[in-house]
């Protein structure tokens, strides 16, 4: 049996962080029952290097594509995954009466990152196949054929649920903060990962043994009705969800003008600004910068939370940060019991001094 993981690919090559974390959870699930781990993505075979796949423990991989399927189309993506899971060669279910995926029985689970795309595609897959779908899992293990034990997030991660999923094929999405970024590799030895050289033929990744096959899905009428058109003029560079450094600002910033110093600091650290809900509902900053339960979930190396109290709904969005540093005038603020480090002080004094100190170190 095989656990199949959907990889979202980055324009610059390779799988996006959220997908590599999903792959780590998928690997845990496969390992719990001695099953194979496979990966699939939409796009050209070269989009993910065999070296990257091998390092993550993947044994087989498929690049899914066809002339009609160029952009993101949720239902078409789900249809393609269903076809691949039914039969990777023909896409046709061996015996549609025998089960949701034709009873071909080679796939035990399909896993994706709990992103807008991952959740949407797996929900469609659940609807097409009549299978249940469990979103925002943090770990999964097989306890019997057709049965998995899951740990998943509720309330955006403010609460954890232990659950059992009974389904012939488990459909799971993996929370962005399910695993620390450094637990993504199968052998955990980062130094040994050798990125595949450019132009290396798919399937011949040096000492990596992953062969990438091409899968051409057969789509049904209407699968491409809903298709994403991308407006390139609205590209905003580094995205909050994948930023390495986030400088957070809350009510304590005081107003829209107070964000200039946060922007400057974020720029110096190669990061982006994130904000609390108070800031977006006051209209100081756009909602796409909001971190939290109803905003974006972030997983940076460093989250510098300035003038943010640390409400449970805010922490739900940043608990996946590797290190949290709080700057707050109130030593009794909840964030101080949730951060790793704190500076007790006025952000309007501390941040400008910090910016000057960092600039002074640089030539």
């Amino acid at each position: 049996m095989t656990v199949l993981c959907l990889i979202e690919t980055d324009a610059g090559g390779g799988g996006v962080d959220a997908s590599m974390r999903a792959l780590a959870v998928a690997r845990g699930l496969a390992g719990s029952a001695d099953e194979e781990l496979a990966a699939a993505w939409f796009g050209p075979a070269e989009a993910v290097s065999p070296g990257e796949l091998a390092a993550a423990g993947v044994g087989r991989a498929w690049a899914i594509g066809s002339a009609e399927l160029s952009g993101y189309a949720p239902l078409a993506w789900a249809r393609a995954l269903a076809g691949l899971a039914a039969d990777p060669v023909t896409g046709s279910a061996a015996d549609p009466a025998a089960g949701p995926l034709g009873g071909s029985g080679w796939i035990s689970a399909i896993v994706a990152a709990a992103t807008d795309h991952g959740n949407e595609v797996l929900a469609h897959l659940g609807a097409i196949t009549g299978l249940p779908m469990a979103a925002n899992c943090v770990s999964a293990a097989r306890i019997a054929p057709g049965k998995c034990r899951l740990v998943r997030q509720r309330w955006a991660g403010s609460l954890i649920e232990d659950a059992v999923l009974a389904a012939p094929v488990a459909l799971l999405t993996v929370a962005a903060d399910a695993v620390p970024a450094d637990a993504v590799l199968a052998d955990a030895v980062l130094a040994e990962v050798r990125p595949a050289a450019a132009g290396e033929p798919a399937g011949g990744g040096g000492d990596a043994e992953v062969s990438v096959e091409v899968y051409q899905p057969e789509l049904a009428d209407g699968d491409l009705t809903v298709l994403a058109a991308e407006s390139a003029d609205r590209r905003s560079g580094v995205s909050l969800a994948s930023a390495r450094v986030v400088v957070g600002g809350g009510r304590g910033v005081g107003g829209p003008d107070g964000f200039a110093v946060l922007e400057e600091l974020a720029g110096l650290l190669g990061g982006v600004v994130g904000v609390s809900r108070v800031v977006t509902s006051e209209g100081w900053r756009p909602h796409r910068q909001q971190v939290g339960q109803t905003g974006t979930k972030i997983t940076p190396e460093l989250y510098l939370a300035c003038g943010i109290s640390g409400a449970i709904q805010h922490m739900a969005g940043c608990q996946g940060a590797k290190t949290i540093v709080a700057i707050n005038t109130d030593s009794g603020a909840p964030i101080v019991t949730k951060a790793d480090y704190a500076v007790i002080g006025d952000l309007h004094e501390v941040l400008p001094a910090l910016v000057e100190a960092i600039k002074a170190r640089r030539p």
């Binding site: 959740n119 659940g126 232990d162 999923l165 290190t323 019991t337 007790i344 170190r361």
Partner: protein, 257 residues
């Protein structure tokens, strides 16, 4: 334009979230109930569209008899009709919920132009009821939307342009109506209920249906509060005096190279 918005009654979570001693529910002895902010925005969006283009807004919920309270809250915001799919309070799975909603909004022949949902329920976070409803009704669907524009053809709404930002790029979806769309907070700023709105909501009749259901394959065993809360940050110092320590920390973390 006829719009139906689905909302779910959930506990109002304040400073902390607590679990009942049996580990199966959120402890609500000290809290009220509400709907998710995403759903409140869905209602606001529906009311704005109806105000602009004419038509009316129905709100629908599946939940215990008390969920009528959440319907009235939404009626106070400008919806004009409320439908309660009444349960005994047990937690329905997303598949059963979608079945009951699809049945209630018209079975095979939907009478609404647009079905709006929240992106995910605040409590269970299933991320799937809208998509399952769309499949049951044979309608196009998109989720996580933060911008909505109705495109009319003559005096009929014909299509919608739905947009969202995904990994730094704006994605735009063009859907023929009728359609299913789930939205996220940020699409608008919901209004506060007006006094006349509240009075109207109080008097409104709520249609009640009692659907039946079967559990789906995902079974909850236990809820718990994640570990790790309650640690204490290492204080680097007070005010600008802490800056050198902060700089060394950033350096140690590899942020200054």
């Amino acid at each position: 334009m006829e719009i139906c918005v689905c909302v779910k009654r959930v506990p109002m979570v304040g400073g902390a979230i607590m679990v009942t001693p049996d580990g199966l529910e959120v402890d609500t002895t000290m809290s009220g109930f509400t709907v998710s902010p995403h759903e409140e925005c869905a209602v606001e969006e529906a009311v704005q569209v109806a105000e602009r283009l004419g038509g009316s807004v129905t709100v629908l919920t599946l939940g215990p008899p008390e969920a009528a309270g959440q319907l009235r809250d939404m009626l106070a915001l400008g919806a004009s009709r409320g439908i309660l799919l009444q349960t005994d309070g047990a937690e329905w799975g997303p598949m059963a919920t979608a079945d009951a909603i699809a049945e209630a909004v018209g079975g095979g022949s939907v009478t609404y132009d647009l079905l709006l949902f929240g992106n995910e329920a605040a409590d269970t976070g299933g991320y799937q009821v809208p998509v399952r409803v769309a499949h049951l009704l044979g309608l196009p669907c998109v989720t996580g939307i933060k911008g909505l524009e109705v495109v009319p053809a003559g005096d009929r709404p014909e299509r919608i342009l739905a947009s969202r930002e995904y990994r730094g790029t704006e994605e735009v979806f063009d859907l023929p109506l009728p359609a299913v769309v789930s939205v996220k907070e940020g699409i608008n700023l919901p209004r506060y209920p007006s006094l006349p709105g509240r009075l109207r909501a109080k008097r409104a009749t709520i249609e009640t249906i009692e659907p039946s259901w079967e559990p789906d394959g995902l079974r909850k065993e236990r809820l718990r509060v994640p570990a790790g809360a309650g640690k204490k940050a290492q204080v680097l110092g007070a005010g600008t005096e802490a800056v050198p320590a902060l700089v060394s920390l950033l350096d140690e973390l590899g942020m200054l190279s």
